[in-house]
């Protein structure tokens, strides 16, 4: 969520129990601004917090780059996520430690998983920082969502914010197909012409949540009697998306442990 609206937005997602203490809020308010100045970001988002065992990571996001922090004041730049990182860290499980220099031993992991034999050959120790980057990237790709119509695709290709977005109506807001994954569409191309017939190419250029697998991987709730829609991802518990119907206000934040809920199919 945007740094400017952070305190207000945090209140909206507090229904899930997550939140930031007053101290952190106050610290973020100042440090995000400085962050924006120092890195020349046009805008800075507060992405969320990943709770480690020894301490949390606070993560802010500028344009195309992530920064992490342990105390909300001094930020350090994270390397951009690469495919290699993601495959490297795919086998890591368990909680984050809260120490970016902590090193995971892939060999140890290999013992648990037979698939990752090649790492036995002397795969380097994986730093937690790498895992952090990969996890953030995964979360963004898997469950970073926007309401339908908030972004439009121009005929020439570029996507930009829709100035005319006035928010979803209350009835739309209750439906999963009013929300889109904010990443490159994957399923859209696979849909039949008949399914595509009703789509508006300038708006419906992303995958909607409706077809997420497994079905029901989102909990969609109207809070405050319908004046607030909250979507919680069950696949990545901790990710909360909020939207106030009929307004432009929406955003998501991750406050969790950075672990994917792989038990989801059994839990529905």
């Amino acid at each position: 969520m945007d740094a400017e609206s952070l305190p207000y937005a945090l209140d909206l997602v507090a229904g899930g129990g997550g939140g930031l203490s007053s101290e952190k809020r106050a610290a973020l308010r100042a440090s995000l601004l400085l962050l924006r100045r120092d890195y020349r970001f046009e805008r800075v988002r507060f992405w969320g917090r990943i709770q480690g065992i020894r301490g949390p990571y606070y993560i802010a996001e500028g344009l195309l780059s992530c920064l992490s922090d342990l105390n909300c004041v001094e930020w350090s730049l994270l390397p951009p996520a690469t495919e290699e990182m993601i495959t490297q860290t795919a086998g890591l499980k368990g909680r984050f430690q809260g120490d970016p220099s902590y090193e995971y031993d892939p060999i140890e992991k290999k013992g648990e998983e037979n698939e990752r034999i090649y790492e036995e050959e002397g795969g380097p120790m994986i730093k937690e920082e790498i895992r952090l980057v990969a996890t953030i990237d995964q979360i963004d790709k898997a469950v970073g969502i926007i309401p339908r119509g908030a972004f439009v695709k121009t005929p020439l290709g570029p996507v930009h914010e829709n100035r005319n977005f006035e928010g979803l109506s209350l009835t739309e807001a209750k439906k999963l197909n009013s929300y889109f994954h904010f990443t490159e569409p994957v399923n859209l191309k696979n849909r039949t012409l008949l399914q595509k017939a009703d789509l508006d190419p300038s708006i419906d250029f992303l995958d909607s949540l409706e077809h997420d697998i497994p079905k029901g991987s989102w909990s969609i709730q109207l809070e405050r009697g319908g004046s607030l829609v909250v979507l919680r991802s069950l696949l990545w518990p901790g990710l909360t998306f909020y939207h106030i119907p009929m307004t432009k206000q929406f955003g998501y934040i991750y406050l969790g442990t950075g672990e994917k809920n792989i038990d989801l199919p059994f839990m529905l």
Partner: protein, 769 residues
């Protein structure tokens, strides 16, 4: 081409216009003046009508009516020729569209004034009053035409010189000179007007020529009926220039403009709006509001303007009042607030007596907020009021906000209460009876039905393991009673007491809550009960795992010794230690041994205190004694869990993950920091402690953390249907060889037997002997 054709008409026409002018003067004040002034006024000074009129009026009177037309005259002479034509072609389209534009659309006014003058000309043609004032103008116009001819479409650029030319004419009309400043204002408009004026007259000429089938005819077909092409011309005026060589007269463009305008003014069949008005309104709005980067937000402005159109809804029929869920909730919240004041009087005496059980939710929330957990303040307060409501409706000894469990559709807000002595028994017992009766009844029915149906087949020898009896109220897992509601303000629902079977089953499954208490739990292994039971079981497990307090805050009661003897698992009651010495926050954070569990551990059996199920079942059911006796040898060893008030440091690790994470709420102001503990085993469980204050809260999905994937237990192996033995196994038929071999063997055996007999007999005989 235009010159010869153009010039003579002005001169010839000059006279009629002058004649018109006289009449126009008459008409001017009568008919035209209002529309004419209307449009001008806004354009000139800045849309202010009074000031705009101000300048004009002086000119008009100063010059007398003829001079008043002076400024118009350039148009007039040109128009002279048109007038006859206009009635034929343009009036319907031209006048029609103009009128609406005249009303209040400033940018377009420049056009309007001209039309206005035209109209008067038409009627005025016949008259022939004083032409004198106009004659000087006519030459001026001839000059224009010359320019026009030469410059063609570029006239707009050349208009300034023309105006300079006009002005000299104007000096001829002395009254204009004082107006020069005003003219300067006019000029921007004038240039817009000027090009049109010459064009229009030519259009009129053109039309005149049409009937005459002069040299323009070839163009005429090209323009066809004008209307279809004209809008195109109008739009492409700059691009139109190339045609000028072919069409020396820009007159068709005048038509094109008119037609384009007519097109623009076509009102939509859907909304009744037309683009012309819409654009006018947009530009007006932009000029009024002067937004930054207007070009970027022109779409929005367009939208806004359109929306503004629809705001007026003068319908006498009202829509049915919409009942949003927001209102319903607000109603409930309001009820909460009303009760606080309404029934306060009744409650006060009780509170004095019983030392109100209502917890200070807001204080707790304040501390948890420092820890970075907790709900929003609004929600906390609503919960606070809801708890107050609960306390006032139930005979409650102690009450606590236990936490919130998230569900797929709705969430549960959980309150942990303890009834006052004696009061809970009736209610709970009744409920239990009902519930258990219902369950047992249904089970019995099933069994009976089964028995009836399955008379013939052999009875199953399976005997379910003896049911572990439920713990009494106020003990063990049923120590507290839990109320839940989905939303503060909604009615509180009491959860049924938990049974050991449910706890054991709940350990084996991992399901999301839906938010509906009566929802079935579809799982394997099957869960006995519905979501209410599952919720209650999870609450019991979470409580046992995460309810902690600083060491020494609670102590065992005096009769602890007796209890220890009675229950193997240890003492299950504690009391507050009046001599509790606060543990410093730093110590609380540093060492987990300064924290203790104050809720009993739940044994594998699903109870806090171990009980031998088979013993009890023997007493209850004497029928099965024999079989149970057989089982007695492997009677389970009594389970012993960690006793109550065990330090957290004894908690088991979760695969190298410490079960608790402790930290200070703030490092900046350590003297006011509080100690925060966060359970890693039950994500979402938090505790804080500072001084003598501490509390626990759970905000989460209600699931235990496990580093490994959840794997549902495998179904048990298929049971054998009947004991297989030799008597029921079918044997292979012996082959002939086998039979023969058997026979041979039998014979041999017989023979041998006989021999043996003989031998034996002999032996016997020998023995006898």
């Amino acid at each position: 081409m235009a010159d010869p054709s153009g010039e003579p008409p002005p001169e010839a026409q000059a006279s009629p216009p002058s004649g018109q002018s006289s009449e126009q003067l008459d008409l001017g004040p009568g008919q035209e003046s209002p529309p004419v002034q209307g449009p001008y006024q806004p354009t000139l000074p800045g849309q202010g009508t009074p000031p705009a009129q101000g300048p004009y009026q002086p000119t008009l009177p100063g010059q007398g009516t003829p001079p008043a037309q002076g400024p118009y005259q350039p148009t007039l002479p040109g128009q002279g020729p048109y007038q006859p034509i206009q009635p034929g072609q343009a009036p319907p389209p031209g006048q029609g569209p103009y009128q609406p534009s005249q009303r209040g659309q400033f940018p377009y006014e420049p056009y309007e004034p001209r039309q206005a003058p035209y109209q008067p000309h038409q009627p005025g043609h016949d008259t022939t009053p004083g032409q004198a004032p106009y004659q000087p103008h006519q030459p001026g116009q001839s000059a224009y035409e010359a320019h026009q001819v030469g410059q063609g479409p570029y006239q707009p650029l050349s208009q300034d010189p023309r105006q300079s030319i006009y002005q000299p004419h104007a000096p001829g009309q002395e009254p204009y000179q004082p107006q020069d400043p005003r003219r300067s204002i006019y000029q921007p408009h004038a240039p817009g007007q000027d090009p049109y004026q010459p064009q229009e007259p030519r259009g009129s000429l053109y039309q005149q020529q049409e009937p005459m089938l002069g040299p323009y005819q070839p163009f005429v077909p090209g323009h066809g009926p004008y209307q279809p092409h004209d809008p195109g011309y109008g739009l492409y005026q700059p691009g139109y220039s190339p045609y000028e060589d072919e069409i020396p007269d820009p007159e068709p463009r005048a038509l094109a403009i008119q037609n384009a305008k007519a097109y623009l003014m076509k009102s939509s069949t859907k909304s009744g709006l037309n683009l012309y008005d819409h654009l006018a309104q947009m530009l007006t709005k932009i000029l009024d509001e002067r937004p930054i980067n207007a070009v970027d937000i022109i779409e929005n402005i367009s939208k806004d303007v359109k929306w503004a159109q629809f705001q007026k809804k003068m319908d006498t029929l009202h829509d049915e009042h919409e009942m949003l869920p927001t209102f319903e909730l607000a109603e409930k919240y309001k009820a909460l607030f009303l009760k606080g004041t309404g029934e306060g009087g009744d409650q006060e005496p009780e509170e004095e007596i019983t030392d109100s059980p209502l917890p200070n939710v807001m204080e707790t929330a304040f501390y948890f907020e420092q820890a970075g957990v907790g709900l929003s303040m609004d929600e906390n307060y609503h919960i606070f009021l809801a708890l107050k409501q609960l306390v006032s409706m139930q005979p409650i000894q102690t009450c606590r906000f236990w936490g919130k469990i998230l569900g797929l559709e709705m969430n549960y807000i959980v309150a942990e209460v303890e009834y006052r002595e004696g009061e809970e028994e009736e209610e709970t017992e009744e409920e239990e009876v009902i519930e258990e009766g219902g369950k047992e009844g249904s089970e019995d029915k099933d069994e009976e039905e089964d028995e009836e149906k399955e008379d013939e087949p052999p009875k199953s020898t399976y005997k379910s393991p003896p049911v572990v009896p439920k713990e009494e109220n106020r003990t063990g897992t049923n120590k507290f009673i839990y109320f839940v509601c989905n939303e503060p303000g909604k009615p509180w629902l009491k959860l049924p007491p938990v049974t050991p079977v449910q706890i054991v089953a709940a350990r084996k499954i991992k399901k999301f809550f839906t938010g509906r208490l009566d929802a079935p739990i579809v799982s394997y292994p099957p869960f006995p009960g519905n979501e209410a039971n599952y919720l209650r079981a999870q609450i019991a497990r979470i409580s046992a795992g995460t309810q902690i307090s600083p060491l020494g805050f609670y102590q065992f009661g005096e009769e602890e010794g007796d209890e220890e003897e009675e229950g193997g698992a240890g003492r299950d009651t504690y009391e507050e230690n009046p001599d509790f010495e606060t543990i410093s926050v730093m110590e609380l954070v540093d060492s987990l041994s300064n924290w203790v569990h104050h809720v009993q551990n739940i044994l594998m059996q699903g109870r806090c205190s171990w009980i031998n199920p088979s013993q009890k079942s023997e007493e209850e059911e004497e029928e099965g004694e024999e079989e149970e006796k057989a089982e007695e040898p492997d009677e389970p060893q009594p389970e012993v869990g960690p006793p109550l008030l065990t330090p957290l440091s004894e908690d088991a690790e979760i695969q190298n993950i410490p079960p608790w994470t402790s930290q200070l709420s703030t490092n900046l102001v350590p003297q006011y920091a509080i100690a925060v503990l966060q359970s890693n085993l039950w994500p979402g469980a938090y505790s804080y402690a500072v001084g003598k204050k501490f509390d626990n809260i759970y905000l989460g999905w209600g699931h235990k953390y496990s580093p490994d994937n959840y794997t549902p237990s495998m179904p048990p192996p298929v049971q054998t249907e009947y004991p297989s033995g030799p008597e029921i196994t079918e044997m292979n038929d012996p082959t002939v060889e086998e039979e023969q071999a058997l026979k041979a063997a039998q014979e041999e055996a017989l023979a041998a037997a006989e021999e043996m007999d003989e031998m034996e007999e002999e032996e016997d005989e020998d023995e006898d002997d």
